[in-house]
């Protein structure tokens, strides 16, 4: 999203674009859904080969990015995924890698980092719990210290790609502290139950942990750094959603503009009616605003600015609020064809609807922004 990109960045972007056009057209999304699948693991390994998975990982741990701005590069991949609402576990894997590579001592996790970067293993963040809102640092799942390590008990849900993951990063209460643990999904006592979602290919799962024993090395980060790690993981998850939504909105808006120019009624193009023109003007304005706030938050998060959290909440709230408004308006501009299974609009509508409510609703983030404003005032 910068004004001038380096040749390496342009090559990375165009390679990603070509890969997605060839391997993940909308037709492929429909095929996966018809087969009841979320994504093809060999496809994911090829995506990993393009460098998508290493972007948040430092070079000495096997990652890296061509531009030196890994989050910025990941943001541009996410925006391109939106063009075809592509499948795949990029965000869950990225969030787990952010924790593994971002904690003070990543060395116990180097083998897992390698496997995740290579696309051989898929991981996901088990943070939400049944019947609860967005409260990432207030888990009811417990981790009890025992001689062999820790025993995990409780239930998580809305775990993206839970049934496709080899390992989960589980947020748990450990005495008076909150910690995160890597739990293999084939460990004894782990039960995974798929959940339905509004999306065609993004699959989620409820995961029960019934006396699951993990080694001491399963803990990710110290107790002291866990809150900051969880915050950063959440911010990354939230902003990547926003980036993908921007890609979705641009795609949907563009083909709806074309529709308005092509489609005629009463002998004139839809685009010539002032009532519709004004609605398109609003949509264009909201779309550019979504782009602006997302880019601003990516830039702040990339350099860990002190106001990055607020910037991400602003973007997540605004994009969450407006994306549904824009896509539903585009459905309305299409008329009857817009509400059919045949038309692709619903593929995009499903994804933006999903994202509105995952990792905090606009309402949650509005409250956060208010509290941050209040805290900032008392700091003066």
């Amino acid at each position: 999203m910068t004004a001038v990109d380096s040749p390496e960045k342009i090559l990375f972007t165009s390679t990603t674009q070509a890969f997605l056009q060839k391997e993940s057209p909308l037709r492929r999304v429909r095929e996966l859904h018809a087969a009841g699948e979320s994504f093809d693991p060999s496809w994911w390994r090829r995506a990993a080969d393009l460098g998508w998975t290493g972007l948040l990982v430092p070079e000495d741990l096997g990652g890296g990015s061509v531009s030196g701005d890994g989050l910025g590069d990941l943001a541009s991949v996410a925006e391109q995924l939106g063009t075809t609402v592509a499948p795949g576990p990029l965000y869950p894997v990225s969030v787990v890698l952010a924790a593994l590579a971002g904690c003070a001592d990543p060395h116990p996790h180097t083998a897992m980092i390698d496997a995740l970067i290579a696309g051989e293993t898929v991981a996901s963040w088990a943070v939400c719990e049944p019947g609860r809102g967005w409260e990432p640092t207030d888990p009811s799942v417990t981790a009890t210290a025992i001689d062999a390590g820790y025993r995990i008990d409780g239930t998580k849900d809305r775990v993206e790609a839970g049934a496709q993951s080899g390992v989960l990063l589980v947020v748990a209460r450990c005495g008076s502290e909150v910690r995160q643990f890597l739990v293999p999904t084939d460990a004894a006592g782990v039960r995974i139950e798929p959940q339905r979602s509004v999306d065609l290919v993004k699959q989620f799962a409820r995961v029960e942990f019934d006396g699951v024993i993990v080694a001491p090395s399963a803990a990710v980060g110290s107790a002291a750094e866990t809150a900051a790690l969880i915050d950063r993981q959440a911010r990354i998850a939230q902003i990547l959603q926003c980036c993908e939504v921007v890609g979705i909105l641009q795609t949907v808006f563009d083909f709806t503009v074309q529709w308005a120019l092509d489609r005629h009624s009463f002998g004139r193009p839809l685009a010539s009616y002032q009532a519709l023109k004004h609605r398109f003007a609003d949509m264009k304005m909201w779309l550019e605003a979504c782009r602006a706030t997302t880019a601003a938050a990516v830039a702040e998060l990339a350099v860990d600015s002190p106001t990055a959290g607020v910037a991400v909440s602003v973007a997540k709230s605004y994009v969450g609020e407006m994306a549904g408004a824009i896509v539903q308006d585009c459905v309305q501009m299409h008329g009857g064809i817009g509400v059919t299974w045949e038309h692709d609009l619903h593929l995009y509508l499903r994804r933006v609807t999903l994202y509105r409510s995952i990792f905090g609703t606009p309402e949650d983030h509005n409250l956060f922004v208010y509290e941050a404003e209040k805290a900032g005032r008392s700091a003066i």
């Binding site: 193009p269 398109f280 304005m285 605003a289 706030t293 602003v314 509005n366 409250l367 208010y370 404003e373």
Partner: protein
């Protein structure tokens, strides 16, 4: 050897400390635009800036400025944050009127008026809208007729911001009625004190008297008052609209100082409003206030994004209309939100205890109307940003004297 931006800023810092009054940027002294004293004060401060060598940083040297890049102005703006600045002179005088003169006026006019404005001796305004309509600017019916070697202007103008405090106005008048509307216009720079001009202040529902209307009755001016070419006034007016969009988007290099003008231009303090209303525990109101803060933050981000996109060519210059409509939408949301937060105290009681919120709400539509309505801006976005077909216009290509107009009242 040219001075670097840093050296310039350091010199400005020292000079400001010695010469300009210190203020609290969180609550700047009010400078109500309908108050004569505010204008006298602004002229005085401008004079100090000029004498100190810090006026018109981006205006060329031959017209009294410093001829420096925008980077110097921005650095200067950052230094002035804690000083009282003549902010009310920025728009329209510097950012629209002087900027347009720079683009379109003769050497003599530029030498005389731009430098006088920079010295704090002249204030310039726009005389564009008319009682018969504002959005259809090219449809003005104020006439200028050639009599001997003079031009004689008759008609009426309205919604001229702060004209009572101004010395000259850029007045759009019709000089040829036999051609389509855009082709028969000429821009004149007329002295507001001309005996043929009767100025009346418009009282807004808020009680503010910032706006004026002017009746022009036999206002005679010479050829030296013509800005641009005769019958090419639309070109000049278009530059004004262009500069106005940039000024509104806070993207004009001709504005000096970065603070707000005080009064209702101070950003709303939601936390204070919520706490004062005794609603600190009310999650619903806190969420609403948070949403207003979100939309306000996005407004600023959109301004930067659109400005960059217009500069790089990804959006056409008319992309500024996106900012115009967004500003209005956000202001609407903010005023609706403060009305909800203040509840009954917003409508009964004293100013300072909530009533100011209700009073501000009453003027909510000002921002959706002033400077061209949001409806016209949405047409501009639809037709000139998205490239949709133009609205049917009954006056397109028709000689103006054959265009139907409303009957004179």
């Amino acid at each position: 050897m040219t001075e670097s931006v840093e050296q310039f800023a350091a010199r400005a810092r020292a000079w400001l400390a010695d010469n300009m009054p210190v203020i609290d940027p969180e609550s700047p002294p009010p400078a109500p635009r309908d108050d004569d004293k505010a204008w006298t004060r602004a002229r005085e401060l401008q004079k100090r800036l000029y004498e100190g060598g810090f006026a018109g940083i981006c205006f060329p040297r031959e017209y009294g400025g410093l001829g420096l890049d925008y980077a110097y102005q921005k650095a200067f703006d950052a230094e002035t944050r804690t000083y009282e600045m003549p902010l009310i002179l920025n728009t329209p005088s510097f950012t629209i009127c002087c900027a347009t003169l720079l683009d379109t006026a003769s050497e003599d006019v530029k030498k005389r008026h731009i430098s006088a404005a920079l010295r704090g001796e002249e204030v310039l305004v726009q005389l564009l809208s008319e009682p018969g309509g504002g959005s259809d600017l090219a449809g003005v019916i104020t006439r200028a007729e050639r009599r001997g070697d003079r031009w004689v202007i008759d008609g009426a103008k309205t919604w001229s911001t702060s004209a009572f405090a101004a010395d000259y106005g850029l007045c759009l008048a019709r000089t040829n009625w036999d051609v389509p509307k855009h082709e028969g216009l000429t821009m004149f720079l007329v002295p507001i004190a001309h005996p043929g001009i009767t100025l009346r202040r418009i009282t807004m529902l808020s009680g503010s008297t910032e706006f004026c209307e002017e009746f022009l009755d036999g206002v005679d001016v010479g050829d030296d008052a013509v800005v641009g070419d005769v019958n090419d006034g639309w070109t000049v007016a278009s530059r004004q609209l262009y500069h106005e969009r940039r000024a509104v988007a806070q993207g004009s290099e001709f504005a000096s100082g970065s603070g707000n003008e005080g009064g209702t231009s101070i950003p709303i303090d939601y936390v204070r409003l919520v706490e004062r209303a005794g609603q600190g525990d009310n999650e619903r109101l806190r969420e609403m206030a948070g949403r207003a803060l979100v939309h306000r933050a996005v407004t600023e981000q959109l301004v930067g994004h659109v400005t960059r996109a217009v500069n790089s060519g990804t959006l056409p210059p008319t992309g500024g209309s996106l900012i115009r409509v967004f500003h209005s939408e956000t202001a609407t949301l903010e005023l609706d939100t403060i009305l909800a937060i203040t509840a009954a105290a917003g409508v009964v009681g004293d100013e300072g205890e909530g009533l100011e919120s209700g009073l501000r709400y009453l003027s909510r539509q000002n921002v959706a109307i002033g400077g061209g309505t949001v409806e016209v801006a949405r047409n501009v976005i639809g037709e000139r940003v998205l490239g949709f077909p133009r609205e049917y216009a009954a006056d397109r290509g028709v000689p103006f004297n054959q265009v139907r107009r409303e009957k004179a009242r």
